[in-house]
Amino acid sequence: MSKSVLLCDDEVYILRAAEIKFRHAGYDVRTANDGEQAWAALQEAKPDALVTDCQMPRLDGLGLLQRIREHPATADLPVLMLTGKGFELSREELAARWNVREVLSKPFSPRELVERVEEIVKSAKPRAVGGEIPPTQSGGFSNC
């Protein structure tokens, strides 16, 4: 059974680079350009891991995380955050409050990104059986 990852970033070339690397590593890859698209993709199927940017149009990374953690079907989804933000985002807070397993800063190495996701997927608990994920209107955060 192949591993799957959902990549979410508003910069298409970042998505493309990560997508190529993950495909070559044997992943089933889906992509989204913003939080709303990612949430829609999560409703279709739950991946083994989510890699998301923080600052995005429509629904930002923290808003997406809030939806994911608030819904039982996705509450345990392993998330890696890929961000160009600096001091205003605390790794500790992201881990403690949103259970973000890993934070990678941009510029990033696609090779390292795949390695980190591999580790996260390996260490993840067996997938919980979740129900259908309903759409939600909860808003995002503005400090992303």
Binding site: D10, E11, V12, Y13, I14, R16, A17, A18, I20, K21, H24, N33, Q55, P57, R58, D60, G84, K85, G86, F87, E88, S105, K106, P107, F108, S109, P110, R111, G140, S142, C144
Partner: protein, 447 residues
């Protein structure tokens, strides 16, 4: 016999009577002189009695006067009193001068305090408000509901300030400086720096409104964060695709070309960001090198469209160039004008949702050339319209939508207005879109 006796008596007494009459006359004259002397003494001023030059004020009565000793004593006593009076008057005059000076100084200080924009509050040794200048009265206005409330009760709106002032009256030591928040008339907290100094009896607080400085500091911090984010984004592309190439992830020549094109594009993007930063700094420092030459505005706008088109296509935004068929000549610096046009177009593309439309138009209008960038983007509130040209200012909604430094529009405005003597304005409706329009002096029109 009788006659003889009379004659003898007359001869004998006449000289005595004469002598007695003469003595009486002298006595009368002396008494008169003494009266005059005493009258003059009584009327004399202290200054006349104690002149600067030593010496007798007036000749004492003649030496044979039996009152001479008494008069001399009276004279001396008067002179001593006169000296005492003169000393007292001098002391009073000196005191009046000192009091006048002190009063004038106090008036000066009051005038200076009243005119100072910083609120200044002074409490006495008991912690009771003793003085508040005009700015302080404005900061702590009387409560219309409780007009009888004293200044201390009004000060109680800021308990921290009261504590600092009372603390300074009780404890010796150097002055203190703290940042405190004081609610304004609408109850919104505003940041002040307060310097407290202990006085001989009491304490003084000088407040400085640092809300604007705080806002600027916050904007600078945001700016640094945004610039770093904006730089990291293209760097990410460059680094990621170099690694893909190195790791052999390009499966064929087409993929290899695609990766190189991304690297090239992101390097250009980074270069534009650095140019924006440097040009704004140069323009603000007045050291920008401007090389104006006759140019075709349409040619510059076509060039700008070419730069922005890839990012518009990536967002499926319909980017239209509706340029005038006329030659629109301007005397302009090519690079700077191109940058202004790119900044306006990039801004429109950035804040227009996918599937939207951005139009660039140019025309000749009232002897000037005009170009405008119209978008179907998020639009701006009236408040944001007035602030988007401020350096580092970023519309809250924009922060959520896309990254930015808050430099593109201020730089465009500098370039259009300060460098080229034109005008950059905007019209916008929140939720519907914006139109940024530029007018420039025309040069060498050809039909």
């Amino acid at each position: 016999m009788y006659y003889l006796t009379t004659i003898i008596l007359a001869v004998t007494l006449a000289p005595a009577a004469g002598l007695a009459w003469l003595a009486l006359g002298r006595q009368k004259r002396r008494a008169q002189a003494t009266r005059h002397y005493l009258a003059a003494l009584a009327q004399a001023t202290p200054r006349e009695l104690w002149p600067d030059e030593q010496g007798t004020w007036c000749p004492p009565p003649s030496a044979g006067d039996p009152w001479l000793k008494v008069l001399a004593e009276v004279h001396t006593a008067f002179r001593q009193r006169a000296r005492t009076i003169q000393d007292l008057e001098q002391a009073r005059a000196a005191g009046e001068i000192r009091a006048g000076r002190a009063l004038a100084e106090a008036e000066h200080v009051r005038g200076i305090l009243a005119g100072l924009p910083q609120p200044i509050l002074l409490v006495d040794g008991y912690g009771e408000p003793a003085l508040a200048n005009h700015s302080a009265e404005e900061l702590f206005p009387a409560d219309p509901g409780h007009p009888e409330a004293g200044p201390l009760a009004r000060l109680a709106r800021c308990q921290k300030l009261v504590e600092l002032l009372l603390g300074a009256t009780r404890h010796s030591g150097a002055g203190r400086s703290e940042e405190i928040e004081i609610p304004d008339g609408e109850g919104k907290a505003r940041c002040y720096r307060v310097d407290i100094a202990r006085l001989a009896a009491g304490a003084v607080a000088v407040l400085q409104d640092i809300a604007d400085r705080k806002t600027l500091q916050k904007r600078h911090a945001e700016f640094v964060s945004n610039v770093s984010h904006e730089m990291k984004t293209p760097l990410s592309g460059i680094k990621a695709y170099v690694e893909l190439l190195r790791d052999g992830d390009a499966e064929d020549e087409a993929a290899r070309e695609e990766f190189l094109a991304v690297i090239d594009g992101q390097a250009d993007r980074m270069q534009r960001l650095v140019e924006n930063l440097l040009n704004l700094a140069r323009i603000e420092a007045g050291v920008v090198r401007v090389s104006k030459q006759p140019l075709s505005l349409n040619a510059v706008l076509e060039e700008a469209l070419g730069v922005v088109r890839p990012s518009a296509q990536a967002k499926t935004i319909d980017l239209r160039g509706e340029l005038s068929p006329l030659y629109l000549g301007v005397l302009a610096d090519h690079d700077l004008l191109l940058q202004a046009a790119i900044n306006l177009l990039s801004n429109a593309v950035k804040y227009t949702p996918a599937g939207g439309r951005v139009a660039l138009r140019s025309r000749l209008e009232a002897g000037q050339v005009r170009f405008e960038v119209e978008d179907t983007g998020v639009g701006l509130s009236p408040e944001d319209c007035g602030r988007v040209f401020e350096k580092f200012y970023r519309v809250q909604k924009s922060r959520d939508m896309a990254g930015g430094t808050g430099l593109g529009l201020p730089l465009a405005k500098h370039i259009v207005e300060d460098v080229h003597g034109g005008r950059l304005g905007l019209e916008s409706t929140l939720g519907q879109g914006s139109t940024f329009h530029v007018t420039l002096p025309a040069a060498g029109q050809m039909s």
